[in-house]
Symmetry: C2
Subunit: 412 residues, 2 copies
């Protein structure tokens, strides 16, 4: 039975003018929308956010777009026309937050740079994502998720010890950056309640990556660098048994992660009981983390002998219940088919006029015990009339005029 | 020349009662501290946050701890004593935020569960991190970063296509979860300004991972699942050339990432010019993304022939300057030695009474153009007197009495 969802009201009344595209910016503004802000995407009338057309059939919004733009509104404005630009400037006067992640210099060329907007509205929180920071050697370079993961150290510490660098599956360069900007925006909004003033916020994707690999910097401080790739292990070096162990089935993800903590000697004892090797409890060959590190192969063989006879779900169940941290390596299909994610509202099935019944992960934090209500991403220009009326007080007649002049488009 | 740092005042006056440990909770409260909140860690007088002793010599705070606890205060209280518990309850009455990430059930056993604290202080934002969500099959299991990455789908989509799952180097299970909780805390604080009421916030590390692999869910919606590992590629499938290319040097990280976008045909043309193959511009064999996908090996060989003659920095410089997204695979040592990170305050050298001159990545978002000022993590019990005086109005005499009774410890 699915839990009742609730729209959050944390940011009730907060207006976000969103000129962002693809993922880093949109993931940030989507989190604001989930917290209850009114997020209005400004899109070009022709094709909108380029994310709409990533790997999809013509005329149908891409899953890519749907996933990063839930709970937002879409207003289409021709920014190259003087009248269109004026509309956006007028909207900026009434907005609390402005977000953009165009290529370096583009927003200034559009006439919507910080210097312009903060004069119109000193209360605006003006937030930007770029690939590289001001003062870096690559300040004006383009970046995408993978470029951030390459230049931000992430790839250098991900992969097999004897293999090449790999790009982790999560889009840390994009969503990881978006989340940090979101935190700063919320901090700036909180301060604005007191001061009435906005702030200028800037984050570079490369810089943001360093925040997520701080454990590697701790390791480097301890042991020198560069920090190496560690396969299934942690970059700080675990103590065996720690890692993935093959389970019955032999499929690409038929593994269970088992972690025994250095800080808790009980983990190893409990594990010996689970795998039916009580005879080794107290055995001096394996007594301390240092002993087990020395005999890593033997230790891992003891665990594998047991895991290979169980499927990963069973293995996780039994080892976990014995009080040892353990986790099956679950794939995206298994996750999507696990009813408990749907029941808990972590995955929700979306209702969209074009794309029926797709499943998307939603905001994972529970507020007062209930999942956040997710609304499908907007169709291009779906809210042009509504928003121009409510933000700028334009009349039906004025809106029709703008549409006739092709300054805006409306979806009927 | 290093930029002047500034302490942020976004959360001036916000009091955070922090019972969290290791990384998921501490990374969250550290971000709040960087935004200007007063974050007080409650630690046991004996050894404090177990993060203090991770891979370090006795009596010296671990780099692990230093990196996740900057800008906080430390108060040591014996929570097992009635008087100690009363102190924490009294602090909870005056706190805005409470954060904990103990094993399931532990905070309730300490008598500091949500039901207790929200009665004392209906304005408290009560935030918890667990491994698995309420209603999941593994609700009462323990989790650490790697368990979250295994069970949250991250490992299944990270690694070589024909290899085993790998655990990405970033501690996404910990810091990734902490950032999402931080966003919800800030949302709840914003709402509290209006309503005076707090909220209960809960996040599970497994659930949080789904937020970072949403691109894989978009891919699954499009192509079915499970989504496979893609090595150096994106899980949605790039179009060649896209990936890492070997550079001169032959070291483990001597690669450059080159990305040519499907959406921008200029990237491929520009790249052909860079690699001295203008002769192939317009060649029908490589004209469209589909053509290049069909001839992926040939296409990659064209690029490799050039990159193998340049070192990765040079390659990034030249390809990037030509307007093609490109990034050298940088390791942690190269990042730490890049002066521009220090000049920009992204990396700061810390002053700590025990551990001199360590380097740590700091909050990467610029507020009004300046880096956030980072203060070294507190010594155990460093702020016991100061905080008990300022939060609870205790007198010197009362504080000395608590210390004499071993309810608290003070650092002289």
């Amino acid at each position: 039975m699915a839990q009742t969802q609730k729209s959050l009201s944390c940011l009730d009344g907060v207006r976000v003018l969103d000129l962002s595209q693809f993922e880093a910016g949109p993931s940030c503004t989507e989190a604001l929308a989930w917290l209850g802000a009114e997020v209005v995407k400004i899109e070009n009338p022709k094709s909108g956010d380029p994310g709409r057309t990533v790997l999809t059939e013509p005329g149908r919004d891409a899953f890519y777009f749907l996933i990063f733009n839930a709970n937002k509104k879409s207003v289409t404005i021709d920014l190259k026309s003087a009248a269109g630009k004026k509309l956006v400037l007028d909207m900026a006067r009434t907005a609390d937050v402005f977000v953009e992640n165009f290529a370096p210099g583009a927003i200034e060329r559009l006439g919507l740079g910080y210097d312009v907007l903060c004069k119109l509205n000193p209360g605006i929180v003006y937030a930007q994502v770029k690939g590289f920071g001001k003062g870096s050697s690559f300040e004006s370079n383009l970046a995408f998720d993978m470029i951030a993961q390459a230049t931000g150290g992430v790839m250098s510490i991900s992969g097999e010890p004897d293999g090449r660098p790999i790009k982790p599956g999560p889009t840390l360069g994009d969503t990881g950056t978006g989340m940090l900007l979101c935190i700063s925006i919320l901090g700036a909004l909180y301060e604005k309640k007191r001061t009435g003033k906005g702030q200028r916020l800037e984050v570079a994707m490369q810089d943001a990556m360093l925040h997520y690999i701080r454990l590697a910097f701790a390791t480097q401080a301890r042991k020198g660098g560069p920090v190496k790739r560690a396969g299934d292990q942690t970059v700080s070096g675990g103590n065996p048994p720690c890692g993935i162990f093959k389970c019955k089935g032999g499929g690409p993800n038929d593994y269970v992660y088992v972690y025994t903590s250095r800080a808790n000697p009980e983990h190893w004892k409990r594990l010996l009981q689970v795998v039916g090797r009580e005879d080794l409890i107290g055995d001096q060959r394996y007594a301390t983390p240092a002993d087990r590190t020395e005999r890593e192969e033997e230790v891992n063989a003891i665990v594998s002998a047991w895991t290979s006879k169980h499927d990963k779900h069973e293995a996780m169940q039994i080892i976990g219940a014995a009080g040892i941290p353990a986790g099956a390596v679950l794939d995206t299909k298994e996750l999507a088919e696990d009813r408990t994610f749907h029941d808990r509202g972590i995955l929700q099935t979306m209702d969209h006029p074009q794309v029926k019944g797709y499943v998307m992960p939603t905001w994972p934090v529970r507020h007062d015990g209930t999942p956040v209500a997710v609304r499908a991403a907007p169709m291009l220009g779906q809210h042009s009339s509504e928003v121009l009326e409510s933000w700028l007080g334009l009349s039906r007649h004025e809106i029709e005029g703008l549409a006739a002049d092709k300054i805006i488009t409306q979806r009927k």
